[in-house]
């Protein structure tokens, strides 16, 4: 990959012109460097060893053709990129960025674009292999045992008169050529590819391009079915047959987890030896000043709060490109989760202005209500109580809907999976029965099933100022809770309570703080719950981030170990 710094502006931010030349995205300097366009179609995937072996074997029968696991993943990534493009992501994502990341990965993990290191033989267990390899191979049966984690897809129904597990003689098969090998090898050093990692790739590409899509957005789109992830094999070409251990690799039966995808992304970026990512500047969507605006809107909070979040950002210097930009491999800096950071900032600002101790915010609200009575000009003053009522109502409704969606989540698709050819008829029978039962009871359901997927949208909650019921708070003013001091508007609230006085060591227990609902005020929990719903992550993750922001904000005071009940941070 082209990693040289631009001659004109010293950035490393390359794109490809139509003519196939590199150009610098920051200053549009076009170079003379060109590169061949690589076709991402899997059939002509230029793997060095297959080229040296000669033509790929094409089976004449129903077997399909030979395919390798990494080809499968490549196909997945291609589909995901196409889906993202359909969602509005720029086309460079697929052809330039993601593609190159992937090829770099293949190279680094020695699966392609290199000579196989000597001494490493590929012992491939194909279904046709009746050789003695099976005896000398360490038992692969343990890989077939159903586990709690994703990919346990043993469709062994109890109808079998001899309820036997897959015996060694039927061979631990996979449709792919190297499926069994793939799972067996200790791939720790080489960062073995998994389905969740495809999302890490996607996010990494999005981040590189600084696309306006956060990781929580991405994962939500996956769960809502806009991005291929579950049952992605149904998009595989007919010739690529999936069976046996392929299932463990490609089939997912759990929702992707934010932390996991994020951590893998960091690992991946380091593994690929990527340089510093393009800078996150204050005009980027991912910059806290921008993201805070988005979340303030979604949380139906006054626009005026934006000033405050910007002030906090500036105060603790987290608006700097150096802080926000990802530098892979740099272990000393804490990696930024843009969405979590943004909502944490909002939480801190709410605490600054309203205290959120289950007492003061209500007093303040009553006070604002009083002032509102005499407030004839301009917009109404923001009243916490009103906002709380509106949001609580909506949140409860949405949460209830989400809970039902979770209970109604469908994991299987019409394309059935089976471990081995013998199980095929049983699996198909079962599938048929499932479809029959769905039809029978579907008719008894009464209500028409709603449209399959909700329309993809970046906003889950929306509020319109045109509503006359006063349920939109965007235009409300904070003056009701502010006071003038030396010509400057400051918060009436003089106090602040810290979520924790000391951060935990992440390495020891995995968290920076330990959130327990019972230990904190209800209002604080409510606010966490709101953003937890929007981001689809645990409240404790947001709480951790809030702690970090607070530590930075009150750093000096903490350092001095003086009481922090006086004064206000400007």
């Amino acid at each position: 990959d082209f990693n040289e710094r631009c001659a004109q502006c010293s950035e490393v931010n390359w794109g490809l012109t139509d003519g196939g030349r590199f150009y610098c995205r920051s200053c549009h300097n076009v170079t003379e460097r060109t590169r061949e366009v690589v076709n991402t179609d899997f059939i002509s995937n230029a793997r060095v060893q297959t080229i040296s072996k000669g033509l790929r074997k094409q089976e004449k029968n129903d077997r399909g053709c030979e395919w390798y696991v990494c080809e499968g993943f490549q196909f997945v990534l291609k589909k995901q990129a196409e889906a993202l493009e359909a969602l509005g992501v720029c086309p460079q994502m697929k052809d330039d960025v993601l593609c190159n990341f992937w090829r770099c990965y293949l190279q680094k993990s020695k699966q392609a674009y290199c000579n196989r290191p000597a001494g490493e033989t590929i012992r491939v267990l194909s279904v046709h292999d009746s050789s003695t390899d099976v005896d000398s191979e360490p038992s692969l049966l343990h890989l077939l045992s159903p586990s709690e984690s994703e990919g346990d897809l043993q469709t062994d129904c109890s109808f079998a008169s001899s309820a036997s597990k897959v015996s060694a003689s039927t061979s631990v098969c996979s449709g792919s050529v190297d499926g069994s090998l793939y799972l067996m090898k200790n791939q720790k050093e080489k960062l073995r590819m998994t389905m969740p990692m495809t999302l890490s790739f996607c996010y990494m590409a999005l981040l590189w391009l600084r696309e306006p899509m956060t990781l929580s957005d991405l994962l939500r789109f996956v769960v809502e079915g806009h991005i291929p992830y579950f049952n992605v094999f149904k998009h595989f070409p007919e010739k690529m047959k999936l069976c046996g251990l392929d299932l463990k690799i490609f089939c997912v039966e759990s929702w992707p987890v934010y932390e996991e995808v994020h951590n893998k992304m960091l690992e991946l970026a380091a593994f690929l030896d990527l340089p510093r990512f393009p800078d996150i500047t204050d005009s980027c969507f991912l910059h806290p000043d921008m993201l805070c605006m988005k979340y303030l809107m979604e949380a139906n909070l006054p626009d005026d709060l934006h000033n405050w979040t910007c002030r906090v950002v500036k105060k603790i210097c987290i608006g700097e490109a150096d802080f926000l930009t990802l530098v892979p491999g740099n272990k000393s800096t804490r990696k930024v989760k843009y969405d979590v950071l943004a909502v944490a900032l909002i939480v801190v600002v709410l605490k600054l202005l309203f205290l959120l101790d289950d007492h003061y915010e209500w007093l303040l609200s009553d006070f604002a209500e009083e002032r509102n009575k005499n407030n004839k000009e301009g917009g109404p003053y923001f009243e916490f109580k009103k906002w709380y009522k509106v949001i609580k109502c909506s949140l409860d409704v949405e949460q209830k809907k989400l809970d039902e969606e979770r209970a109604k989540y469908l994991w299987r698709c019409e394309k059935p999976l089976f471990y081995s050819a013998e199980k095929k008829s049983k699996v198909l029978k079962r599938r048929q029965m499932v479809v029959n039962l769905q039809n029978q009871f579907g008719k008894l359901s009464g209500s028409v099933r709603p449209a399959e997927k909700p329309n993809p949208s970046s906003f889950q909650l929306s509020w319109s100022e045109e509503n006359t019921d006063g349920s939109c708070f965007h235009g409300h003013s904070l003056k009701g809770i502010l006071q003038e001091k030396c010509g400057v508007l400051t918060a009436m609230n003089p106090d602040y309570w810290l979520c924790t006085d000391k951060l935990c060591t992440e390495k020891l227990c995995g968290h920076l703080a330990h959130y327990r609902e019972a230990d904190f005020p209800h209002s604080y929990h409510f606010v966490l719950r709101l953003f937890s719903f929007l981001l689809r992550i645990q409240p404790s993750y947001i709480h951790d981030e809030v702690c970090v922001v607070e530590q930075k904000l009150f750093n000096k005071k903490l350092f001095k170990k003086t009481k922090y009940s006086t004064g206000r941070r400007k």
């Binding site: 109808f159 759990s254 929702w255 209970a407 989540y409 994991w411 079962r430 499932v434 039962l437 009871f441």
Partner: protein, 412 residues
């Protein structure tokens, strides 16, 4: 309440199941059906390692929904059950049996019979032996339906017989039904269990064909074999049989004695007491008193005139004979603390009098003996009774006054 944002297959199906259960508990059948459609894909991951696996869940939940849903019908139900039969070979016979029950409950006797016959012919390797109990039940219920046919044919024959017709074909059918029924019913009642309906039918068959010995043996086994669970009905059936066949009082008494021990409040206790009171043996008469007192310990008998009249009669007889007052004393000893409030309160005196003068008459007599002429119940009722100038009340009043000191002796 913290909301978990993770989700996997297992967890989502657990959640789904809880929604189904909530809907069912609230009788929201449409909603239950809706969530069931999302649950059924668990069948594709049916490992049958849990206590109740997805296929059993779906069978039971689906059955429940189809039973109650307004748009469901037998055709839908049958098609559903046929699918369930193929789901789990270990449960095959159980599903068949419950299907047959359902058909019977809906009056589809022929269909039930067909199902049971089909199930009877099922063979599946070692499963056949493992599901031996279910098979016996299937055969037993088929036998029951054979009995039902036999019974119908018998009635036809009787009708025709009255009209002077002979019906050889019906007779043959009847006999064949009898044989089929007898074979299966005999088998099931060998197994320790509660088989009231099978026993009754089998005994009916035996009696009809005159095999009284076999019938008696069957009933004895059913009542007295310790391997069988204690079952009051077994003794009732035996007693009824013995009575039908004019057996000796002795055997009747011994049959009812155990019933008295198991279910002191049984309705046959009245007959029992009547029998025992008349006996010449002292022990039996003693037992009779015990039996009738025990019956009236139960709230269900409080307003039963017959029971009170039995007690009144026996108590009166004892008082007149002046022998065995200690019997009454013994029985009254454990009751004197609570029977007054339970049976003889002033409130009860009034309401008994209003609702049923015969009841109050009998009770008043007993109260007068047990508690003396000054007790609330007796005073009120005898006063009311004498006001109406009904003869027996005057007689009763005289009687109680005469034997007024008895109560002191028995309550001492």
């Amino acid at each position: 309440s913290s909301h978990e944002h993770k989700l996997n297959f297992k967890k989502s199906k657990e959640l789904c199941l809880s929604y189904i259960q909530d809907a069912m508990l609230q009788k929201q059948w449409k909603r239950a059906a809706e969530f069931l459609t999302f649950y059924v894909e668990s069948l594709e991951k049916d490992f049958s390692r849990e206590y109740v696996g997805p296929s059993e869940m779906i069978w039971r939940i689906g059955t429940e929904i189809l039973c109650h849903h307004s748009h469901s019908n037998m055709k839908e139900f049958n098609s559903f059950i046929e699918q369930m039969k193929t789901l789990g070979v270990k449960r095959y016979l159980k599903v068949c049996l419950e299907h047959a029950f359902h058909l019977l409950c809906n009056g589809l006797i022929d269909e039930a019979y067909q199902n049971l016959s089909l199930a009877e012919s099922w063979r599946f390797g070692e499963q056949t032996a493992i599901q031996d109990k279910e098979m016996k039940l299937i055969q037993a219920y088929r036998g029951l339906l054979d009995y039902y046919s036999w019974s119908k044919q018998k009635n036809i024959l009787i009708e025709h017989g009255q009209d002077g017709f002979e019906d050889v074909s019906v007779e043959q059918e009847m006999h064949s039904s009898f044989q089929k029924a007898a074979v299966n019913l005999k088998e099931i009642i060998k197994v320790p269990g509660v088989w009231d309906v099978f026993v009754k039918c089998y005994v009916d068959l035996l009696e009809f064909y005159g095999d009284h010995n076999e019938a008696r043996q069957v009933l004895n086994e059913y009542a007295y074999n310790s391997k069988f669970p204690a079952n009051p009905n077994a003794h009732v059936y035996l007693y009824q049989f013995l009575k039908r066949h004019g057996e000796s009082k002795k055997s009747l008494v011994s049959a009812l004695k155990i019933l008295h021990e198991i279910v002191p409040s049984h309705e046959l206790m009245i007959d029992f007491n009547t029998m025992l009171q008349k006996s010449k043996k002292r022990k039996k008469r003693r037992l009779g008193l015990e039996v009738i007192f025990a019956v009236l310990d139960y709230a269900g008998w409080k307003e039963n005139v017959k029971a009170w009249s039995c007690l009144a009669r026996q108590v009166k007889q004892i008082v007149i004979s002046e022998k065995h007052l200690d019997w009454i004393k013994q029985e009254w000893n454990s009751r004197k603390d609570w029977w007054p409030a339970f049976h003889f309160s002033r409130y009860l005196a009034k309401s008994n009098w209003q609702e049923n003068t015969s009841l109050s008459y009998e009770k008043a007599l007993v109260a007068g003996i047990l508690l003396g002429k000054d007790c609330k119940y007796f005073k009120y009722v005898s006063h009311q009774g004498c006001k109406t100038r009904v003869k027996r009340f005057r007689i009763m009043k005289k009687f109680v006054n005469k034997h007024n000191l008895v109560y002191q002796r028995i309550s001492g």
